[in-house]
């Protein structure tokens, strides 16, 4: 048993990562654990990348409160973490009178939530802004504070900034149980051993219900995974006129199937919202593809199936927690609490959309909860909120590219042709504060393999580079951790044959 940590954060998704990053500001010994081999592989790995303005969440809910605080944190946060974020605004598009009533309702909700500068614009004005929109749109809600982020980069950068500021990160470390003394949590049992702590933060995403049940908290709380499927279009073939997000009017299933730009230059179509039986079921289904395609077509008729280059699915951690304020009739709210029954637990649950937007606000709320529980938090003298970005070759000017290659020739070799990713970028990620040591980890960080050839060109090259950098045989390089090895063995075991021949001689 090691020295006790002040705080152990269970789950290194966007919520856990942000909690770790903001808590790393204080004189605390913090451990961040995740069951997967990389950060952000759960709910944070598959979503729309939207930074929501905050007009959708029901006023008075935790979702609304953290969304609206969160959206205003992103401009500075993205600067500090050196990640992309664009406040391009978003639209909810109406095609009939009922839709227009929904826009009015959203406008009103937005006003309650104090979302600034919301406006309902005419169909004509909307089409002027996005000529590719279906021609019969009759109006739209314009939310200028809506935007687009990069959930992979944000999760990685938050965790990395935490690690830079002294947080211990243990990956491939699954939560098993709490160690309790009476009603007090004193540690966490994991697949990699036991760790003592004074506080545990449950940021376990899809598994947050199971984690809190281990502490005897909220036995009625239940997370049902709700799958959202997505399609990505080739950026060379199809673009929206302006960088933006186009939503249909929301239904009880959620915000609906959007057509949006991504910060990587592609158009994304999705998601649907269907409950699935397993918290690991990220399968893409035939029916799902048809569902989101027809949804996308409804908004932007010009999208073409020939331009699809990627398909994926994410899972929402949909909970059943009522809003703390009993006057508000809502049963799918975020849980952000220190439960009464148990000491030493900060409990997060049901963090689905707008969780990405809200994550930094949830982190601030966690700090407030700790302080309100009597924790005296002392700021570190040397806390560094800045996580310096590493060079991204494709974002540089020709002059900058030339200078970078002159400094390090590894940036002069393109490994991923579709996304123009260089060997230098891959090597830099292997040596980053959170070392990328799988193919998918490299992919999420550099964006290689995400283009039209989907890794067909880069994969053999990346495998060689990873094997060399990690000092392992190519057969041990994995896609996403043990059990996902890409190669099985060498062709023809010649060396052994030679040995036998020598024996004969």
């Amino acid at each position: 048993m090691t020295n006790p940590y002040d705080v152990i954060i269970i789950g290194a998704g966007i919520a856990g990562g942000m909690v770790a990053r903001f808590l790393s500001k204080y004189e605390l010994d913090i451990l961040l654990i995740d069951k997967e081999v990389d950060v952000g592989m759960g709910t944070s790995s598959g979503n729309s990348a939207a930074i929501h303005a905050g007009y959708d969440a029901l006023p008075g809910t935790n979702k609304a409160l953290t969304n609206v605080i969160g959206v205003d944190m992103w401009p500075r946060l993205s600067q500090e973490l050196g990640i992309q974020y664009e406040r391009c605004g978003d639209y909810v598009v109406a095609v009939d009178k009922e839709d227009m009533l929904v826009l009015e309702e959203l406008l009103e909700r937005g006003a309650h939530n104090e979302v600034p500068n919301l406006e309902i614009i005419s169909g004509e004005a909307m089409r002027r802004r996005e000529p590719l929109l279906r021609p019969d749109a009759i109006g739209a809600l314009w939310a200028p504070t809506g935007g687009i982020g990069d959930p992979f980069a944000a999760t990685i950068a938050a965790a990395e900034n935490a690690v830079m500021n002294g947080v211990d990160l243990k990956l491939d470390t699954a939560f098993k149980d709490f160690i309790m003394e009476g009603d007090r949590i004193t540690g966490v049992r994991t697949s990699q051993g036991d760790f003592n702590c004074r506080w545990a933060v449950n940021a376990a995403g899809l598994y947050a219900d199971e984690v809190m049940h281990k502490a005897g908290v909220r036995p009625e709380f239940n997370i049902r995974p709700r799958r959202g499927e997505y399609l990505i279009l080739d950026k060379a073939d199809f673009q929206l006129t302006n960088t933006t997000i186009l939503f249909p009017t929301p239904s009880e299933k959620g915000k609906g199937i959007l057509v949006a730009s991504t910060l990587h230059g592609n158009v994304i179509v999705g998601p649907n919202a269907n409950f699935v039986d397993s918290k690991e079921n990220r399968d893409v289904s035939k029916e799902g593809i048809e569902e989101i395609w027809s949804g996308g077509k409804k908004l932007v008729p010009a999208i073409n199936r020939k331009h699809i280059i990627a398909e994926f699915a994410g899972l929402r951690a949909t909970g059943n927690a009522p809003t703390p304020n009993p006057e508000i009739d809502y049963n799918q709210d975020f849980i952000i609490e220190i439960p009464d029954k148990v000491h030493g637990l900060v409990n997060l649950g049901g963090i689905e959309s707008p969780g990405f937007t809200a994550a930094p606000a949830i982190a601030i709320k966690v700090i407030e909860l700790l302080e309100s529980a009597g924790e005296v938090l002392t700021e570190k003298m040397d806390w560094n909120p800045v996580r310096p970005p590493r060079p991204v070759f494709r974002h540089l000017s020709r002059e900058e590219q030339a200078a970078l290659i002159a400094k390090d020739p590894a940036y002069g070799r393109i490994v991923c042709r579709c996304e123009t990713v260089t060997e230098g970028e891959i090597r830099a990620e292997v040596h980053a504060p959170i070392p990328a040591d799988t193919y998918d980890a490299i992919k999420r960080r550099t964006w290689l393999g995400t283009g039209r050839c989907q890794g067909g060109f880069d994969m053999p090259r990346v495998v060689s580079i990873l094997a060399e950098e990690l000092g392992i045989p190519e057969e041990e390089v994995t896609k996403k951790g043990k059990g996902s090895e890409l190669l099985f063995r060498r062709t023809k075991d010649v060396e052994e044959d030679y040995l036998n021949m020598e024996d004969l001689l």
């Binding site: 399968d283 199936r305 699809i308 393109i414 090895e485 099985f488």
Partner: protein, 425 residues
């Protein structure tokens, strides 16, 4: 290193090598090949199977041997090469931007350019394959590189989707390396690759091909554990009661090739939505003056020999353009796909070309005809200008037809030419 070249060829596969050689042989001064890999030869480097060279050399060679012939010829004629170098951009005024490790950022100007970037493979997303996303789903060409260049096995128990040539060739290759190929599935009711590959790679090795059958779902979280196969009707709808879960650790995709034209687009080259390659005339010049295209970048060929032949034509055109700063203007006539023809290349025929030489047309049929067919080139009035008989027409096999100088007069009068593949009456 020089800054200005008569001809710059992008890619050193069979099309690029032939283009560079032809450019030199037709009077171009400085000719440069830019290759992204560390060896010349393009995809031939990993094609260690035979079947190359039958048309040009009347000899059956493995890919690297075939490539070596042209590599030596290119070296002999004094073609310059830039290896391990990626072209990032080409402008319509023929400036080429590229990078490599040793020279950094490179900016070059060419009097003529030959695009010879080849093609890439269609992926699982492009055919919207459902299921999980584990390790073990590879395109056949990526698997081929792993086995033949890196010397590594990407799996032991394979299902192959698609009866394209690389898929069938890999079925044999993997079997020779001790892996088990459990099934080749083809969604179409016919073979999409060459019949000879079916015989030599599947039949001879006892590998089962099932037509009108496809992958319904990929199963496995970390690594492929199985695939679910299903039979489909003519419209690709699954037929109830035909599902079968086939345990395997790898799924190989051989579901089509797409000409690689991202650079072409940057240069302002217009693409044919059917071939996914540039619109070209009989000299393989694109719509952008001085920019030519050769080989699989134009349309996907069945045989490397034809790619080489196209490279020669494009390289000659590029050399002429480089020396004259223009090709002599000449009236052109459009060639269009007619009855049962999916596409025909070239898209335009220069009327004057036939005065001196043959022009080879290449086309693909829309639907198979398993009896004798007549391939015709007709003018706007239905007048037959050239024709040829074939024992059958299959979409998986390109049909070639040569227009000979004797048709010169007829072509001069034509306003439009249409190519047809019909049952022989």
């Amino acid at each position: 290193m020089k800054h200005t070249y008569d001809v710059i060829v992008i890619g050193s596969g069979p099309g690029g090598l032939a283009a560079a050689i032809a450019a030199k042989e037709n009077g171009a001064g400085d000719v440069l090949i830019i290759e992204r890999d560390i060896e010349l030869g393009g995809i031939l480097v990993q094609c260690i199977h035979n079947g190359f060279g039958l048309e040009i050399f009347d000899e059956d060679m493995p890919g690297p041997t075939y490539a070596q012939h042209f590599i030596e010829k290119a070296r002999g004629t004094g073609v310059d090469t830039l290896m391990d170098t990626m072209v990032l951009d080409i402008t319509p005024d023929r400036t080429v931007y590229a990078i490599n490790k040793s020279q950094g950022y490179i900016q070059l100007v060419a009097r003529a350019i030959v695009l010879a970037m080849g093609c890439r493979e269609r992926t699982r997303a492009q055919i919207l394959l459902p299921g999980s996303r584990p390790a073990g789903v590879y395109t056949a060409g990526t698997a081929q590189r792993f086995v033949n260049v890196e010397g590594r096995m990407p799996g032991e128990q394979f299902v192959i989707l698609g009866s394209g040539d690389i898929g069938m060739i890999m079925a044999r290759r993997l079997t020779i390396e001790g892996a088990k190929v459990k099934r080749v599935l083809e969604i179409m009711p016919y073979l999409t690759g060459l019949t000879r590959n079916y015989v030599q790679c599947l039949l001879d090795y006892g590998i089962t091909l099932q037509k009108q059958r496809t992958v319904n779902r990929i199963i496995g979280r970390d690594r492929v554990e199985a695939i679910e196969a299903v039979s489909v009707d003519e419209s690709w709808n699954p037929i109830p009661g035909t599902k079968e879960v086939i345990p395997c650790d790898s799924l190989l995709l051989s579901v089509g090739l797409i000409p690689e034209n991202e650079l072409s687009k940057k240069a302002g080259v217009l693409l044919d939505p059917v071939t996914n390659g540039p619109y070209v005339d009989d000299r393989f010049m694109t719509n952008v003056p001085g920019i030519f295209a050769a080989g699989n970048v134009v349309h996907v060929y069945d045989l490397v020999d034809w790619v080489t032949e196209a490279g020669y034509v494009a390289g000659k055109g590029a050399a002429q353009f480089a020396q004259a700063e223009a090709i002599p203007e000449g009236k052109q006539v459009a060639l269009e796909a007619g009855e049962n023809v999916r596409y025909v290349v070239p898209h335009k025929l220069t009327k004057a070309s036939l005065a001196e030489e043959l022009v080879r047309l290449q086309m693909r049929a829309v639907t198979p005809i398993e009896e004798r067919v007549l391939v015709t080139v007709e003018d706007q009035d239905g007048e037959v200008i050239a024709k040829k008989g074939e024992p059958y027409a299959r979409p998986g096999e390109i049909i070639s037809l040569t227009i000979k100088p004797k048709s010169f007069e007829a072509v001069q009068k034509a306003v439009k030419l249409t190519v047809n593949v019909r049952k022989r009456k």
